[in-house]
Symmetry: C2
Subunit: 319 residues, 2 copies
Amino acid sequence: MKRREPNGSSVQDLGEFGLIRQLRRLVGSADKSVAVGIGDDCAVLRGRDPRRYYLYTCDPVVEGIHYREAAAPRRVGWKAMARNLSDIAAMGGRPRWAVVSIGLRPGTDVRWVKQLYAGLQAAAKQFGCRIVGGDTTHVRHEQFVVVALIGEVEKSRIVLRRGAKIGDSVMVTGTLGGSWRGKHLSFIPRIREARWLVTHFPVHAMIDLSDGLSNDLQRLAEASPRGTAFEIHAADIPLSRAARRSLAAALNDGEDFELLFTIDPRHVTALRQKWARRFRTELTEIGRVVKSRHRVALIGRDGSRKRLLAAGYDHFATH
Amino acid sequence: MKRREPNGSSVQDLGEFGLIRQLRRLVGSADKSVAVGIGDDCAVLRGRDPRRYYLYTCDPVVEGIHYREAAAPRRVGWKAMARNLSDIAAMGGRPRWAVVSIGLRPGTDVRWVKQLYAGLQAAAKQFGCRIVGGDTTHVRHEQFVVVALIGEVEKSRIVLRRGAKIGDSVMVTGTLGGSWRGKHLSFIPRIREARWLVTHFPVHAMIDLSDGLSNDLQRLAEASPRGTAFEIHAADIPLSRAARRSLAAALNDGEDFELLFTIDPRHVTALRQKWARRFRTELTEIGRVVKSRHRVALIGRDGSRKRLLAAGYDHFATH
């Protein structure tokens, strides 16, 4: 990825991070109704309840990019909803209302669309979310599903990307890597785990792993105060079976939709114990928040220290 | 369009109306938080303010369907936002917060994307709406922009599709037809007019004209109580210059984004006078709400009476 963009550069040259950074500038500063705008998992909005925020997010799923044409439509619908639910989880919230926009080729079998909707509805219902509206349109080539979701979270429980404190333990749920072999279409968004976490422990910073640990660590680091860095131990990263023992897969494959968060290390023992009684999902300490200029460092099994660059999934990279 | 759908029928066979009717069933009934679900211009949600509703809507804009590839990106962005603003207007609301999902080919010039965003932002800003988040993704073929929008409206001022009363006058703002010659990319959503209307007059039912007068009259009629029908006078339909004197264009072209509403005829004179002092936009009485089994009738210049069928824009029809 280039650092400077000459006139006429493409979105691929700039990359998704670079593009979003530029667009954020165009949108300008928000008013008082917006507690957190572009740049976290959800926008954070002030409604009229002084004790709660609304969370607002929107994520597209495109044929050939996020799923193959032959994928079961029920699973495509599940994924389209679950990706958004995962964004609400990342801030400790509860999902409330969804709207859905679908682009369909005119020749698409109505049963395909009904199955897609059944998947959307199943994921929404399982987490207390209501589909309240939407629109369909004709497309010529790639079908798409865009879900927009409103959630809610108590002001006392919201977790942002930017709260990491030096000395924190870095924790991750589940196992990572190889999601594209199947999990990406059927993963369980970590709504329940996140709600339990923010209710029982003071979580400092959180993100959901959508674009690979390396990419999303970078995001967490960039959102943190200057000089706040992440030191991750390669040996501690929980590899999924689908990652097939590849650390690179766990770092870069993306679409794990697990939670990555930081918490005061004094809470880790109690957290592990209570977690194990409550959930079957793994919970692993993979590193520390440290004071350093280098945003993310990976400590190898041999003790070597490497700077970890964002190498995960980029929606504009060719792959 | 067929009435019964055999197994294996396509979304084109079923049509957009038919498809949405089927999907609505799949979503099931809503809970108390949803005052109005699928089937109006926006979903109507109960927040925690006892005097207000939230409005929630989402609309896709697809290259080759809603705009040509060569269209100025600023106008594409304007349209994508304005379509959603028009849905908020149709219920008498004020827009508050938008999120945007964009599908881009990797080779797209970054300047194109910035211009698109400038258009989105210009439309949002003009009507007091904030863009608070979004996502971008890679596509191979057709680019798309999906805006989801949250608005707000006082419970005392909300206008639904279903409120038409027998005897009402049927009114329309602006002029109709030929929008595809240019207006569809630069139209002004009728937020100000709608807010003024619901503040000064008891409007019974309202919809924005997105799919052609014939289609949207049908929607208004279907939302009304059984036996409530619309009688429209062909001679009174305000033709735009772009319609080039074609009544069919005004009935069926779509994308006018004007307001169609019903009001007690005793208010019409006062409404016209006050309107003329406040707005330059035309306001025309085009018919009456009557008691009839036939949902929509068109009265010709010669006094002939025809049943008007939904013949406007269908996103799944081939054209």
